[in-house]
């Protein structure tokens, strides 16, 4: 009982940081509709800046002043990011901004590396709150009690700001209808900037306030990212009390998880989120989003036509060039090109559901890594021949997509995205922790192709056939009745349902189809590397595909392939340099600002302007 109570207190203390950071994220999303991936980076900056300030500001007063100043400093950084990076892309398609924030993550990572070094920083203990207090015989740090006491004030302060003040009214109005608020004479640009300031400040405060408990390191940006998204979704988008309850729930469960069921810690919050979303699809305190029939954001997508003769010849020439690569290229160029093709297939499979179906999945890596693991497990446990394992990989991944799709289909929008993320994390932690079966962190090694495919060149051709084949299959499916029905379900589910199309079932089928093709790319991957590790199932892998689709152009069929190839080759080149993240981040931000319709979307427009390709009547 004593231990129970002490752990409850620890959980509540941990909730302080989580709540601060998550409420900032929730505010920013609510008003600007931007999924701010860089929020974890703001949190990390808060910790580092707070640490540096605490070195120069002594005493109890200095400590709390440092926390406050760190928060404000991060708020200012948030404003800079908003003005420089996000303002130019507000008019871009929905979710495009997340690519920009992804670029910001990379930049901040390298800046932090440069300024504070690669070593973890131990946070100073709070002056005046260094000791412990015994509660029912159990030691509880004084600082924890201070955090527990402070958090409700933050909650109340925020709640007051949002519910009672004029600024709060504007923020809430903007959350419900941005355009209307703009029409009523509110300067939206500054409202957005203000909200970004507030959100970033909260993240910075969260980072600084947890210093005595956790210190600062360069991984903390990604480490908290998943958790704060989970908190926001469980609590219900835009609900402050919801964020607090969810933060407390997650933190407390985590503390108990560590004690009683250590292997559960990686996945616990995702299980909670999955359960909550399946019972309450809009989170604990969230309300159903009245989406109305606004249709697509920005310029409507254009009609598609199968490629004409010219383009076909061009593609054929490109394929011929790829086929001749072993003749004039090095082994390394073949390996690199294989990697690119595999990644392009993976991205193209996500594009099928994201671009054509409008279903944003944050967990597509589950099917890429899933396919790889199915093949690897078959080879290492039952000694399956490579051909059988290769064939069963897409089927296995497709089956996983079938089940997960069925569970996620009743949700929409961001909630759908988060539930797919939750299931992907579930699979990841299962693989990670079931060591004796999956090899855990050590992965599965020695997964090589059959003798007839041995060597770089044979496997390169194998990849070429199945990788390009898969991409062409996806492309053809887009032009088939199935692809049309998928687009119809996205364009107007009202009309589709009223003319006999079961939109949810079409989307479910597309999800399964895309999952199995991601599995195919995973199978190609595992036999080319000879091994697979849990990293292939990680969130970062899912985001890679997401990023390149937007970089390439979500509203063009070739977007995923163009974006995938560009990013992979750029990465290969840049990773030779020390501060490659900074460079890559800046390039991504640059592309996002210059080419808000993605690389292929913008190229198309340029080509149209100069009359290289014919423009359809009435389009601009």
């Amino acid at each position: 009982m004593e231990l129970f109570f002490a752990q409850l207190l620890t959980g509540l203390a941990n909730a302080a940081t989580l709540f601060l950071v998550a409420s900032g994220l929730s505010l920013i999303f609510g008003v600007t509709r931007i999924v701010n991936f860089a929020h974890g980076s703001f949190y990390m900056l808060g910790a580092f800046i707070g640490y540096s300030l605490m070195q120069v500001l002594p005493g109890m007063f200095g400590f709390w002043l440092s926390v406050l100043l760190a928060g404000l400093a991060v708020g200012v950084i948030g404003v800079i990011v908003e003005i420089l990076v996000l303002r130019p892309v507000y008019k871009a398609p929905e979710l495009f901004q997340l690519v920009a924030t992804f670029g910001v993550i990379l930049v901040i990572q390298d800046v932090a590396l440069y300024l504070w070094g690669a070593d973890d920083v131990l946070g100073p203990r709070a002056p005046g709150l260094k000791g412990i207090v015994r509660i029912m015989g159990e030691p509880v740090p004084k600082y924890d009690l201070a955090l527990i006491a402070i958090t409700p004030f933050f909650l109340f302060g925020l709640w007051y700001l949002i519910s009672k003040t004029r600024i709060g009214i504007l923020v809430r109005a903007a959350t419900q209808d941005r355009e209307m608020v703009g029409a009523l004479g509110v300067n939206q640009a500054w409202l957005f900037t203000g909200v970004f300031f507030l959100g970033a400040t909260l993240a910075g405060l969260g980072g600084a306030i947890q210093l005595p408990k956790g210190g600062a390191d360069l991984l903390m940006d990604f480490n908290i990212l998943a958790a704060i998204f989970v908190v926001v979704v469980i609590g219900g988008m835009g609900s402050l009390p919801g964020a607090y309850v969810a933060a407390a729930l997650i933190s407390i469960l985590n503390v108990f998880g560590v004690t009683f069921l250590p292997q559960s810690t990686l996945v616990l919050m995702f299980v909670v989120m999955a359960v909550v979303l399946m019972i309450k699809p809009y989170g604990l305190f969230g309300r159903e989003e009245v989406a109305g029939e606004h249709g697509q954001v920005g310029e409507p997508e254009r009609p598609i036509k199968p490629a004409g003769l010219k383009v076909r010849l061009l593609v054929a020439a490109g394929l011929l060039l790829l086929a001749l690569l072993p003749v004039f290229g090095s082994d390394f160029s073949q390996v690199l090109t294989s990697d690119v093709i595999i990644f392009c297939l993976f991205a193209a499979s996500l594009h099928f559901i994201l671009g054509l179906g409008g279903l944003v999945s944050f967990g597509h890596a589950a099917f890429f890594g899933g396919g790889a693991y199915v093949a690897a497990l078959l080879v290492s446990h039952v000694d399956a021949p490579m051909e059988i394992a290769f064939l069963l990989a897409p089927i296995g991944a497709g089956f996983a997509a079938f089940i997960i799709g069925w569970l996620c289909m009743r949700l929409t929008g961001v909630y759908f995205a988060m539930l797919t993320l939750a299931f992907a994390q579930l699979i990841w932690s299962l693989v990670y922790q079931w060591g004796e079966f999956t090899g855990g962190d050590d992965g599965l090694v020695d997964i090589w192709p059959s003798a007839w495919l041995n060597g770089t060149t044979p496997y390169y051709y194998f990849t070429l056939v199945f990788g390009i084949g898969g991409i062409l299959l996806l492309r053809h499916a887009a032009h088939s009745p199935f692809g049309y029905a998928l687009r119809a379900s996205r364009d107007s589910s009202r009309q589709a349902e009223a003319t006999g199309i079961n939109t949810k079932r079409i989307q479910w089928a597309a999800f399964t189809f895309a999952g199995s093709l991601a599995g195919l790319s995973g199978a190609l991957f595992v036999f080319s590397k000879g091994s697979v590790f849990p990293t292939e199932l990680e969130i970062a892998r899912s985001f890679d595909a997401l990023i390149v689709i937007f970089l390439g152009g979500v509203k063009t069929l070739s977007g995923a392939v163009v974006g995938g190839a560009s990013l992979e080759y750029a990465k290969d080149f840049l990773t030779r340099f020390e501060y490659w993240r900074l460079t890559l981040g800046l390039i991504i931000i640059f592309v996002v600002i210059v080419a808000p319709e993605g690389i292929s979307g913008t190229l198309r427009k340029v080509a149209e302007r100069f009359g290289i390709i014919r423009q359809r009547e009435g389009e601009s």
């Binding site: 997508e301 499916a477 032009h479 199935f482 009202r494 006999g500 009435g618």
Partner: protein, 257 residues
């Protein structure tokens, strides 16, 4: 005359608010039946219940003898009921003709097919439907750039794809210029006469209603207050009070309560 649709005691409450209360009416074969009433009378609620978008609190809807209550919109569509929307709903990423082809693919149960090229399927058939509504010359245009009136025509073409026996049209001329209203309504009347389709439509424009409806139903505060020919309704004092009574209506209510 045969009744193709029979509505019996249809009711819907939202948290105790009686939006539609025990409404009864029939639609006869080949009939153009107008459902009118002031804003908030329950017209759209009625419509959404007929199309399966809303589940009635009580009552039945029989289409050719079969109860439709509890069925999905897509299943009701398959039985031979077409609909158009008050706020147009079309596939903005497709061309005009592809919008119609999509409905035809669905009608022929080909939407899960992955082999053929969709843009070639049922194109001729789709063009005849576009011809019918006067959109043939715009068949290859991007649907997103169509004028509003043309979108309404396109919806009509889509709704005709599965050779319906009954059309439900929710404010078919809303948001149109007066001359265009007349031409769209005349077009609709001609098509349904030729194909012997019955139509139930809601409408605010009395010129359209009196000019084309064979019979009129008047809904007020969720209850059917009149049902009769154009002349009956025009001279009905209760209907006049509802439409022209203005503040009077609310005064008399206060007195009653």
């Amino acid at each position: 005359m045969n009744h193709i649709l029979e509505v019996r005691n249809l009711s819907k409450s939202f948290h105790g608010l009686r939006a539609v209360h025990e409404v009864n009416f029939d639609v006869s074969e080949g009939e153009l039946l107008a459902l009118i009433g002031p804003n908030g009378a329950g017209k759209s609620t009625c419509f959404n219940m007929l199309m399966g978008q809303l589940k009635p609190t009580a009552g039945e809807v029989y289409f050719q003898g079969e109860n439709l209550v509890g069925k999905y919109p897509r299943d009701i569509w398959r039985k031979g009921i077409g609909r158009t929307f008050q706020i147009t709903a079309t596939y903005s990423s497709m061309t005009v003709v592809e919008n119609v082809q999509m409905a035809l693919m669905s009608f022929h149960r080909r939407i899960y097919s992955m082999l053929p090229y969709a843009h070639k399927m049922y194109k001729k058939e789709a063009l005849t439907f576009l011809e019918m509504v006067g959109l043939a010359s715009q068949a290859e245009r991007h649907c997103a750039i169509l004028a509003y009136g043309d979108l309404k025509r396109l919806e009509l073409a889509i709704a005709l794809c599965h050779n319906p026996t009954l059309l439900l049209m929710d404010e078919p001329t809303a948001g149109m210029a007066p001359t265009e209203r007349e031409s769209v309504m005349q077009l609709t009347a001609d098509i349904v006469r030729e194909k012997n389709i019955s139509v139930l439509f809601t409408e605010h424009d009395m010129d359209v209603v009196f000019g084309h409806a064979h019979r009129i139903l008047v809904l007020n505060r969720g209850e059917l207050i009149a049902n009769g020919s154009v002349d009956d309704i025009r001279n009905n004092p209760v209907v006049q009070e509802v439409y022209l009574g203005g503040g009077n209506l609310f005064e008399s209510d206060k007195a009653a309560s």
